[in-house]
């Protein structure tokens, strides 16, 4: 009754932004063009942070040293997305995962692929924490996080 009497409008907002990568992230994504994954090594705690950072949030020191880390690592945790919502950039089904790359002290967030995702039950049986995975690159490089297509299980 009251619900029918009150009008609603449908609204959609599209706003373009120009966002600066900055020096460090430009260097990180330049590495992608050469199929390299770079981390930043903190001069104080010695941790290697991936992706690269211009500072260590813990020690609060500037970081200038870039080091290449391995393209292989283990899955720390993973989640299978099975439904789609408005504006989603990656179409389901997809697997988001935290991956500890060899030589890095942080976990790298990316996708797990190279396996059949059409049967969720099968995926839940196949993919495991601790599984070794390696980066698969897109042939065309844009200096973008999706230059890495996904990480696939190491056979």
């Amino acid at each position: 009754m009251e619900k029918k009497e009150n009008y609603v409008i449908m609204d959609e907002v599209t706003i373009p932004y120009e966002l600066a990568y900055g020096r460090t992230w430009t260097q990180f994504f330049d590495g992608f063009r050469e199929e390299k994954i770079l981390g930043s090594k903190c001069p104080k705690c010695g941790r290697v942070l991936v992706p690269m950072r211009s500072f260590c949030p813990r020690c609060f020191e500037e970081i200038s040293q870039a080091v290449e880390v391995s393209q292989e690592g283990i899955i720390i945790s993973w989640a299978l997305t099975e439904y789609e919502y408005f504006g989603m950039p990656t179409k389901p089904p997809f697997i988001g995962a935290l991956i500890k790359l060899d030589g890095s002290d942080t976990n790298f967030l990316h996708l797990i692929g190279g396996i059949d995702l059409s049967n969720p039950e099968q995926v839940r049986k196949t993919v495991k924490n601790g599984m070794r995975v390696k980066a698969v690159w897109n042939p065309e490089k844009k200096g973008h996080i999706m230059d890495i297509k996904y990480f696939e299980p190491v056979k």
Partner: protein
Amino acid sequence: MAKRVGIVDVAMTPGEETKDNFLDQVFKVTKEVLDKAGISREDVGTVISASSDVFHSGQSCANAYYWDAGAAMLKNGSRQDGESLFAFIYAVMRILSGSYDTALVLGVCKGSENPENDMITHFYTDPFYQRPIGINETIAAALQKRQYMERYGITDEQCAKVVVKNLGNGLRNPYAHVKKRLSVDDVLSSEYVMSPLHKLECAPKSEGFIAMLLASEDKAKKLTDKPVWLKGYGSSLDSFYLGDRDLLKGELKNAAKQAYAQAGIENPAKTIDMAEICEPYAFQELLWCEDLGFCKQGGGGKLIDKGVTEMDGELPVNPSGGVLATNPYVSRGLYRLAECFLQIRGQAGERQLDKKVKTALAHGTHGFAGQCHAVAIIGV
């Protein structure tokens, strides 16, 4: 605390969708709390609001839009974006500054109008690294749940019990949005959204407009016979990047430690009579109970198995139904505090606990997988 700050009264809306507009609802709760306290708009010292307007409401320029409706016009006001329990302490500090006798805290969110929360929280990521991957709050929680289950042997059944408890509690709460009598099987047979999370393990999106009036000790005693006092507060924030954190060693422990120290609490499991915990995902109630010291690390599963956190348990958690029943995003911490306040006052209606509630704990969190936490202890 040297000087005391009291909660005088509270007014809030139920969580379900209404066709009342945003401003009318801000006005409604603001007017109601002022009427309850018997003061006029002119008597309000300062107003602090919590909202996440750009993404959640898609209306106008944040607080500038609703200052008229929130009694802040022609006076002092400010806003906190993120989680309303952080706005609460901001208001407390303004009173403690000695400049104001009263402060009104607002939490405003009309979740029925925004698209899926997953779409909104997708924009809480950064645009360079995490956003193109398609990450959002639910995926982050799913990553956290899988680690929690593996590291401590927490089961899906134990997580589902949280849903059964909280949606069941919601049945007695007129402010609750989703209320249902469910079984563990019902929860586990609901479809996966982001596995290992089932749909029913994730909070809905709800409306939630809330106004809480705070006052200095002297003023609170004048405004009400039953003031409830802030005893302790703590907050702590972790790194933005999920990969920089151990998702099972968050900052809630640190926030709780500060709050307990201020409140003089040595054994929280014993001293705290009830708690309202912010659990947008069912397993988080168990994990947060551990971090709050209600049980040992990894003991969250046993805690729910033993019934400790049920309405009639030793330490009831979320008698309101929690965030799983009502999820008005930024307002949810203040809703937790409101339930603690009503339970202490004996004004929780049908869901009033069958025990004397003297000390209660309210928890708020925002950011992925519990990046930021706040804990408030209130009591008489």
